[in-house]
Structures are given as C-alpha cells and as structure tokens.
Amino acid sequence: MTWTVFLDTVLNNTLVFATPLILAALGGVISERAGVVNIALEGFMIMGAFGAAITAFYLGDEMGLGALGPWFGLIAAFLLGMLFAVPHAVASIHFRADQVVSGVAINFLAAGFSIFMVKILFEGSAQTKTIQNTFTKVQIPGLTDIPIIGKGILMSYPTTYIAVALVIFLYYLLYRTGFGLRLRAIGEHPHAAASVGISVYYYRYIAVLLAGGFAGIGGAGMSTAISNNFSHNTIAGQGFMALAAMIFGKWHPVGAMWAALFFGFANALAANGQVLGLTKYVPAEFLNMLPFVLTILALAGVVGKAVAPAADGRPYVKGQR
C-alpha cells in the first residue's frame, strides 16, 4: 500500500466516522451551553438513525422518490430528534428532574421504541430492510483528482458538508449574535440573566430541542450514509462518544469538531487496522478503546483543564437566589 492511498483511506474514513460525532457533539454544545446536561444524545441519535432509515426506505425505495429519500430522511431525523428532546426538556426545565437520570431514561426509551417499531414495520425482524437509495459520496469533477485532498477530503458524504456548515453556523450563533450571548449567559448564571429580563425557560427549550435535532441528523448519517439499514447496533455508544467529544472540545463548536475528528481518526485506524497492517503492531482491541482512553486522559488534565458552563445541570428555579 502506497502512502497516498494510505492517507486517502485514513483521511476519508476519519471524516466518515467523525461526521455523526460532530453533529451530535454540536447538539451537546448548544444544550450544555444553555445549562442542560445532555446524556440523551445517544437516544436522539438512535431516533434520528431510525427515522432516517424508515423514511429513506419508504419514500425513497417503496414510493419511488429515489435519491431524494435520504434527504427526506434527514428532515425526519431532525424532527424525530426534536420530538424525543421534548420530554427531556420538560423534565429538566419544568420539573427540575435530575438531568442525567432523565437523559438515561431517554436513551432507554429510544433504544426500546425504535426496535419495537422496526419489528412492527418489518414483520418481526430486528432490523430494517436494506435501503437501496442511500447517500453517496459527492464527486466533484476535477477536484477529486487533486492528490490526497481530492479523494481524502473532498469526496465525502453530503452529511459531512452539512456537519462542517453547522459548526460554522453554531459558532456564529453562539459567539457573534445577541441570541448566543443570552443563551450562554443562561448556562453560566441563569439568575443574573433572568434579572435582566431574559427568559431562561425559552432559551433552554430552544437549546434542548435543537440538540435533539442536531443529534438526530448525526444519527441519520449513520443509517443512510455509512450503513444502509437500522438495527440496535447502528448507534451503539456513538452518542456517548459525541458527549466526550463535546467535553474534549471544551463545550465549543470548533473544539468539539476537532475532538470528533480526532475520535474519527482513531476509529478509522481501528476500522482499517487490518488492511493497513496496524494490527501487526497494536491489537485491534487497543485501537478500539483508544478514543475512550484518550477522553479520560484529556479530562484528567493532560490536554488542559476543561471547564463546564457554571450552571450546567442545575435546574433553574425562579426567585431562588
């Protein structure tokens, strides 16, 4: 294997694996910046992957919309992610629930509900039928021929471009608009924000619902770009990885993106370890656990202290202090 092919493969797979993580991590960023902890990313991703898979299957394959199917899938995933964010938002914001426990419940709910529905829709099978019309990698004539960047970076799934666009969008929203300033203020000191007339509830609802939507799109990418069906294995812990990417990236959209790319890189090494001949030197299991070990090391301060928004996870009670 030549070096250019090696780079092409690893770079391209890095983007493929990082895309769902970037999207879900962005969801985590917006939610926690507003002060609501979001362990539920995993559940939102599951619902997104499920929603996109069945939409792409029924609209794209069965009803003949063809290549439009996965695009409708993305919309369905966004909406379904938001829908499942509603109970988490209500519990966390209005009923002052333990946000971690509520998130855990959402994860259970999504895992159970999605497979329940799949079994009903697909005659008892625990996975959807294979989707024929999935996302394909973008081919830009001419650009694809550029060495390394062409095949490594530019030839990616549409979801990758969406992810990068959303990173820029969220960065702009959080740090360059009044809306973002108010949203971040609520995550740091809700009572101070409330005292100048900002509705804590309003911003927190928007943040949690958007988190559901973003993570939903992340899940959609899994079932309609990377694999071509949905089962209980489709997400399998990626929501937690995204959560780790968010922390690794210090609750910042761009930081989260770099962290997700880093995890994607580790995953690409693990997935292609055999092909690349890496497993001759490092056992596959070690490659697989690399992202998790790195997260712990990062949190333990090797990469510098990560500080959560001050009011992250704290319910807001009107009039209290």
Partner: protein, 354 residues
C-alpha cells in the same frame, strides 16, 4: 422525614410504575395489539409455571447487586454509570479464578467472588480517584471505563484465556454456585446460590450505610462535601471508597452470572445491559437496599416475562424496555408525579369538605 414525605417515597415509584404500564398499554393499543392479552402473557411469563418463576429469580439476583451498586454510589453523592464495566471486570475475574485456580469446593467459589469484588472495586476506584483528585466528573469517566473494560476483557480472553470458540475455559465444579436441589424444584431453571447472597448483601449494605460510622460519613460526604470537610472528614478518600464499594457490588453480580449460570465468560460484542438496568432498579427502589430487593424483582420479572409477550402474543418485547424507560423517566421527573398526587389529594379534599 415527615409522614407525607415517607408516603411519597413509596407512592412516587408505585405511581411511576402504573404510569409506565399505562403508557405501554396505550402504545400496544395504538399498534393494534390487545394490551390485556399482552400483560396477561407477561404475567404468565413471570409466574406461569415453576420454570418461569425460577428464571425470574435467576434474573433477579444480578439486578439486586447492580441496583445496590448504583444506589450505594447515589447515596454517597456519585452517579455510577460504570456498573456495566465493573460487571464485566467481575465476570472476567470470576471466570479466571474459577477456571485457573484449584481450591476445595465452597472456598473456591467464595474466593472467586471475593476476587471479582476486589477487581471490580479497583476498576471503579479509578473513576473515584479521578473524581477526588482531579474533579473529573464520574459520569463521563465511568461511561468511558465501560468501553475500556469491554475491550480489555475481550483482549485478555482472546489472547491469554481462550477456551472453546469465543469463551473462556469452563470453571471448575468446585467454583460453581449452582444449586441442583433448588433448580429441580423450579423445573431446571438456572437458579443458584446467588439469590441467597443477594439477600445477605442487601442486609450488609443496609447495615453499612445506615448503622455504621463509615456509612454515615459516606452519606454525609454525598450530601454536602463542604460541610463534611469542615467536620473533619477526609472527603477525597471517602469518594474513592464509595466508588470502590459500589464497584465491588457490581463485581458480585458478574461473578454470580459466571459461577452460577453460564460457567464461563465470553468475548462480548456489546453490553449485557444488566449494569444499566441497575440504574432503573436503584431509582425505583428509592436507593434503599430493601426497596431494591423488590424493584429488582419487578425488573427481573418484566425483562424475563417480556419474552413470553413476544412468544405468546407476538408483541415485540421491546415494549417492556419502553415501559422501563418511562418508569425511570417518571421517577426522575418526580415533581410531575408529586403534582399528580397533589392534584388527586386536593380533589379528594374538596369532596370531603362538601
């Protein structure tokens, strides 16, 4: 705690269970199933015959331990989502000691359980140490440690401890927790000594938490670390101890499954879920060892009985996972349930006034 609060601590979980089952019934109706037939099948799956009830009890034992592991951490102010990983470490250790060591019967099993406790406790204390020393949030570290435990265990089994196919070698008969007499009573259900261990440990944990100075200290640190520090307690050390004890309890769950049910441990492609179910068990059981004995029975029953729902009524058993999720959700959002109780009380009050 006054009487209303005490009543609520029982009412909230009970109402949450009822609400969860109700929403489950609505979902079944919406999908064209008969919820009464569904729940009847569930009931039959739990109590229908001796075998079913025996298997329900088998499913009960590990849930008591994982539930207590989560609850112990909770009581001391920590959220241990890493029970699943500690369960894996306990399972692997018990399989190793059970297969590779030679010891007389009974003692062998006890040593294997003890080894599992120590290993899983040490594993959990990594998260405790990181929390105590570096203020790393235990929720994230324990989630990460779950995956690291799984891959580590798979690596060790594949490279150093492989028996037949993807399994470790079988444990020696001397390390077995099987209980043939009781198994026969329950029509060969894989019921084992673990169910008695569960009761013994529930009493032990109750005693440790509520009757000893150490238990008081651990709970105090969980309740208010700053006040505890002011009162002269070593907060950091107590956090590490809490995680270690929590992990040790998870380790017993793993050892029971290996020594009592399967006789070996396997390379895992995913999580068993028993550790995560512990979170639900702890919450419904109000984080109290005796409450957990009951809530684990509910969850063991629901999980095992659900397979009968699918077999007899063709209702996908995941509906029960949904019900369990809803129960956790309602317990977490207990203000909602309390609001319902309040609504009911007020209405009753008005009626009696008239």
């Amino acid at each position: 705690m006054d009487d209303t609060n005490k009543l609520e601590s029982v009412l909230v979980p009970l109402l949450s269970i009822a609400l969860g089952l109700m929403v489950g019934a609505v979902m079944m109706l919406a999908m064209g199933y008969d919820p009464i037939a569904g729940y009847a099948a569930l009931f039959q799956g739990i109590f229908g015959n001796a075998y079913n009830f025996g298997e329900t009890l088998r499913a009960w034992a590990p849930l008591v331990f994982t539930g207590m592991a989560v609850a112990f951490a909770f009581r001391t102010g920590l959220f241990n989502i890493g029970v699943e990983g500690q369960f894996i470490i306990g399972s692997l250790t018990a399989a190793y000691v059970g297969a590779a060591w030679n010891l007389p019967p009974v003692l062998h099993a006890l040593v294997a359980i003890l080894a599992a406790m120590v290993a899983a406790g040490l594993w959990a204390s990594i998260a405790g140490y990181l929390k105590a020393r570096l203020q790393v949030h235990e929720v994230i570290t324990t989630i990460m440690l779950n995956y690291i435990a799984m891959y580590t265990s798979n690596y060790l089994i594949r490279n150093y401890f492989i028996g037949h196919q993807e399994n470790t070698p079988p444990i020696q008969p001397s390390a077995s927790l099987e209980m043939p007499i009781l198994s026969q009573v329950f029509d060969n259900a894989r019921i084992h000594w673990g169910i008695f261990l569960a009761i013994v440990f529930a009493v032990l944990v109750y005693w440790l938490l509520f009757k000893t100075t150490k238990g008081y200290e651990l709970r105090a640190v969980g309740f208010n670390p700053f006040a505890s520090e002011y009162a002269g307690m070593n907060v950091q050390q107590n956090i590490v101890w809490s995680m270690a004890i929590s992990g040790a309890l998870a380790g017993v769950a793993g050892s029971g499954e290996v020594l009592g049910v399967y006789g070996y441990y396997s390379i895992q492609s995913g999580f068993s879920g028993i550790g995560f179910d512990g979170i639900a068990v702890a919450l419904i059981g109000n984080n109290h060892p005796f409450g957990i004995l009951l809530s684990a029975l509910l969850f063991g029953g629901l999980s095992f009985g659900a397979t009968s729902m699918q077999r007899l009524e063709d209702i996908p058993f995941e509906i029960i996972r949904v019900v369990i999720a809803l129960i956790i959700f309602f317990v977490a959002a207990n203000m909602f349930v309390k609001w319902l109780i309040g609504l009911f009380r007020r209405r009753k009050g008005q009626v009696s006034q008239q």
